[in-house]
């Protein structure tokens, strides 16, 4: 645990053996693709105390295979059709450039304040914490070497200058260092959209995101398709990530394989 104590509640001295038990139980639950020992290390690194670690709202095993949404925390209708592989939203969207999405945590009170503190208040020290969460997530959901490079969802230049930093760029840097996959900084936001919280309705959101991004990445004729992992903080309707994927696909003749990974889903 870091010098600063738990990032969520600030408790410095945690009951050590208690925390160890929690870490172990998480490591057992999350080590599917990677070894228990590796997962144990990843969980242990998180700067959280025993209590906060235990309450961490990690998405379970049963998820929509498209968007990574958890079945257990859905409305009734979705529960009824839980035999299906994809959730209703994903089915209504149909094919898109985005291969699929995975998220690590459910977006509830546990993480809301932390993300707000990082994004809006600008406590950049939290980049380290979110980077560690994403590292954990990538080992949980993907094989190592599955991606050629990482791309963080960009901010509009104006928003960037207001905020002073791109929250996902920082996290992507952390992740890249941890897993040894390079970050490519070739996606730009061309359209300024209103804040997520100020947009109402799924339709409005999807519409506003159309052509919001531009890709100035590699030459359009690569030998083989490249494998790209998009990174964002939260997947709500998925329109941001789909628009990003769309922008990447636009000029390519050999289409890349694009997946996305978010902290919250």
């Amino acid at each position: 645990m870091s010098q600063r104590g738990c990032v969520r509640c600030g408790i410095r001295v945690a009951a050590r053996n208690q925390r160890e038990a929690v870490v172990r139980s998480w490591a057992v639950r999350l080590s599917g693709r990677t070894s228990y020992a590796h997962m144990y290390r990843l969980v242990d690194q998180l700067p959280l105390c025993a209590g906060c670690l235990e309450e961490m709202p990690v998405i379970g095993e049963r998820i929509c295979e498209q968007c990574g949404r958890s079945w257990e925390h859905q409305g009734q209708q979705n529960l009824l059709e839980s035999r299906a592989l994809r959730c209703r939203d994903c089915r209504s969207i149909g094919e898109s450039a985005l291969g699929g999405n995975r998220g690590l945590l459910r977006y509830d009170d546990w993480g809301k304040d932390l993300l707000g503190l990082y994004k809006y208040r600008g406590d950049e020290r939290l980049a380290d914490f979110f980077g560690k969460l994403l590292t954990l997530a990538i080992y949980r959901y993907f094989r190592s070497g599955q991606f050629d490079y990482l791309v963080a969802v960009p901010l509009h230049a104006k928003r960037l200058s207001e905020r002073g930093f791109n929250q996902m760029e920082r996290v992507a840097g952390q992740l890249s260092r941890a897993i040894g996959v390079p970050v490519q900084d070739a996606l730009t936001r061309t359209k300024e959209t209103a804040k997520l919280s100020q947009q109402t309705g799924r339709e409005v959101r999807i519409h506003s995101m159309q052509d919001a991004f531009a890709w100035k990445g590699e030459a359009a004729h690569p030998k083989k398709p490249s494998r790209i992992l998009l990174l964002d903080d939260i997947y709500t309707t998925g329109s941001t990530l789909r628009a990003c994927a769309q922008a990447i696909h636009k000029d390519e003749t050999v289409k890349s394989h694009i997946w996305s990974l978010t902290i919250f889903r």
């Binding site: 509640c9 208040r121 600008g122 406590d123 950049e124 020290r125 960037l160 200058s161 207001e162 905020r163 002073g164 930093f165 791109n166």
Partner: protein, 627 residues
């Protein structure tokens, strides 16, 4: 992206260096003023860098002490600036080793720029300037906060930087970087000094970062991040309040209070008022030291009246939000004609104009030389104690020539040393003086009864006995006696984890009163309800951490501190805890028990302080009876 230009002014006064975001305004201003010569040194997008270079130039100019410059001197100054930038670059890169991209230009610097920076001509009209000045007077704000404040007042100025620069030049405002940057030289190693201009925190609280706002090496303060980010490139504006709000002089000071002072209270309150009124005295600080239950808030009224009658503003700063919320309506009732506002993190009226502001300590950071009288309640409580940041903020909120009034039942040592005179008796024993020009001491409670003196009992192996569920006789007897007599009891424990443990222990120990027990700590979601239940006597025994040590008054209650040796219980805190007992005139007696597992200094010191206060109160009473 804003750029800052550094120039020197040569005129009739000694040579001065200036930083400006819009050179045109400065050119215009100096031409108007005295026709001085301006020489540009260079420009940089980093505000902190510009100020650090200005500092260097000032030093250089002071050593040189010439009133004219030639080409050579100018070249010398440019060289100084360039060296400064290079040194900062190297040091910044060294400290911020996060990036592996090798050496890099952290701070851009351009010399000899074309002076036409294309900004609009400085034609802000006077009305705008006055309006902005009016709104910002007495505030210390970051750029974003200032924009928001102007917006809420419906003021839209197209060329705000230019307008503010005019205010800066005419000496009505100060424009500073949010985080200050300086190269400190030493024979061993140079280092980068960083300081938050708003809260004054040093290097250990400041994080370096690459910033997309200025595109330069940047740093932000993590200490005060809850109130917006203070960064190297964020301008921090301080505008002093020049004159009193003249609108309704006098009326605001009408006091509608029907309570009566005791003799001692009256004297103390009057001394405080004298301090506020005394224009010639050199004292700017005054301490009202009144024991728990002496009626401290009421003592303030005459001083507040004195300030209001002069048409001045008053600030009462207190550490906790619940106190702000409780105090504001009370003060409003007493001063019906004054505008009273409650200023805390989520309050709606925090930007309003006022006569009396009641603020949490952190909000005080947003004020700048605004109040004539600033009262600090409970200086010994958590946020102030040992926290130079908040002392600094409070001192900054006082107007030049204003007054600072501390209020405490247990002033910390450093305040005692500074403000309280000691007097020696014939036998050589020293005791506190009852008053001096910088303090007044009120050793007795308003109902005239002595403070209950705590009993200390040492139980070795206290933790083990508790864990084993063994009976601790003195504690058991005391609790049983109190509960049997129908009184309520606070049981203080040092740590949060011990609250449920202690509660369980007591429930086994005193099964008759099982139902009427509860435990509370700071992050308890049902905290308010539990305290309410305790006030309403639904709960007879409350196990608590130090959160209830002040502010809670329960008539007819007793106190036990279990684990009084723990470092969280220092002298001040124990005196406060003992002060919970016997506050109401109907029931001025009570029991206070400190149970410690080994002999510790703090409980003894607390008992000593309480007995001393009782003695002083007795002396005071005797003297009065003789007279």
């Amino acid at each position: 992206m804003r750029e800052y230009l550094l120039y020197v002014k040569v005129g009739r006064e000694p040579i001065q260096a200036y930083v400006t975001p819009c050179f045109r305004v400065d050119q215009h201003f100096w031409q108007e003023k005295e026709g001085s010569q301006l020489y540009v040194i260079g420009r940089t997008p980093s505000l902190a860098m510009a100020f650090s270079l200005r500092e260097r130039l000032h030093q250089y100019l002071q050593e040189r002490q010439a009133s004219t410059v030639n080409e050579q001197a100018l070249a010398g100054m440019r060289q100084i600036a360039l060296t400064g930038v290079r040194e900062s670059n190297a040091l910044y890169g060294h400290t911020f080793s996060d990036d592996q991209s090798g050496p890099r230009e952290w701070f851009a610097w351009r010399e000899r720029v074309d002076e036409q920076d294309g900004g609009s001509s400085p034609l802000s009209n006077r009305g705008d300037i006055e309006q902005v000045k009016e709104v910002l007077a007495g505030r210390a704000l970051l750029w974003e906060e200032m924009e928001r404040l102007l917006q809420t007042h419906g003021i839209a100025v197209p060329d705000l930087p230019q307008l503010l620069q005019r205010l800066v030049l005419s000496g009505d405002a100060q424009w500073l970087p949010g985080v200050r940057l300086q190269v400190r030289k030493s024979w061993l190693r140079h280092s980068l000094e960083l300081e938050c201009t708003r809260c004054g925190s040093g290097k250990e609280k400041i994080e370096l970062t690459t910033c997309h706002t200025c595109g330069q090496g940047c740093a932000y303060c993590t200490e005060c991040i809850g109130m917006g980010r203070s960064k190297c490139c964020t301008p921090f504006l301080c505008v002093p309040a020049k004159r009193a709000p003249s609108s309704h002089t006098g009326h605001a000071g009408r006091l509608a209070w029907s309570g009566r002072y005791s003799r001692d209270q009256e004297v103390a309150a009057d001394r405080a008022r004298q301090f506020v009124l005394n224009h010639w005295g050199r004292n700017v600080e005054f301490l009202i030291w009144a024991v728990c239950g002496a009626g401290k808030t009421e003592l303030l009224f005459p001083s507040v009246v004195a300030a209001l009658e002069q048409g001045e503003r008053v600030l009462i700063a207190t550490p906790r939000k619940d106190v702000v919320l409780e105090l504001a309506p009370r003060i409003q009732r007493v001063f019906p004609e004054a505008r009273v506002i409650a200023v805390h993190g989520s309050s709606k009226e925090k930007w309003e104009e006022c006569d009396i502001a009641i603020a949490t300590t952190h909000q005080v950071m947003r004020f700048y030389q605004r109040f004539f009288l600033v009262v600090l309640d409970e200086v010994d409580a958590f946020p102030y104690h040992q926290n130079p940041v908040l002392y600094r903020a409070v001192a900054r909120a006082v107007k030049t020539g204003g007054r600072l009034l501390y209020l405490s039942a247990t002033p910390p040592r450093y305040l005692q040393k500074r403000l309280v005179a000691k007097k020696k008796s014939l036998l050589g024993r020293s005791s506190y003086a009852l008053y001096s020009s910088s303090h007044v001491l009120l050793p007795g409670r308003y109902h005239g009864h002595a403070l209950p003196v705590p009993q200390i009992c040492t139980v070795s192996g206290l933790d083990k006995l508790l864990a084993a569920g063994r009976v601790i006789t003195p504690l058991h007897d005391m609790l049983k006696a109190s509960l049997d007599a129908g009184r309520q009891v606070f049981v203080f424990v040092p740590r949060v984890e011990e609250v449920p443990r202690m509660l369980g222990y007591l429930q086994v120990m005193l099964p008759d009163y099982r139902e009427g027990m509860a435990g509370v700590h700071a992050s308890d979601p049902a905290r308010e309800e539990k305290v309410m239940a305790f006030r309403e006597k639904a709960v007879k025994l409350m196990v608590t951490t130090t959160i209830l040590e002040r502010g809670v008054t329960i008539p007819g209650s007793d106190v036990a501190v279990v684990g009084a040796q723990a470092p969280v219980f220092d002298e001040a805190s124990l005196v406060q805890i003992a002060g919970r007992v016997g506050r109401s005139p109907d029931d001025p007696k009570g029991t206070v028990l400190f149970v410690q597992s080994y002999r510790a200094a703090a409980p003894q010191a607390a008992v000593r302080q309480i007995t001393q206060m009782n003695q002083l109160a007795k002396q005071l009473r005797d003297r009065r009876e003789m007279a």
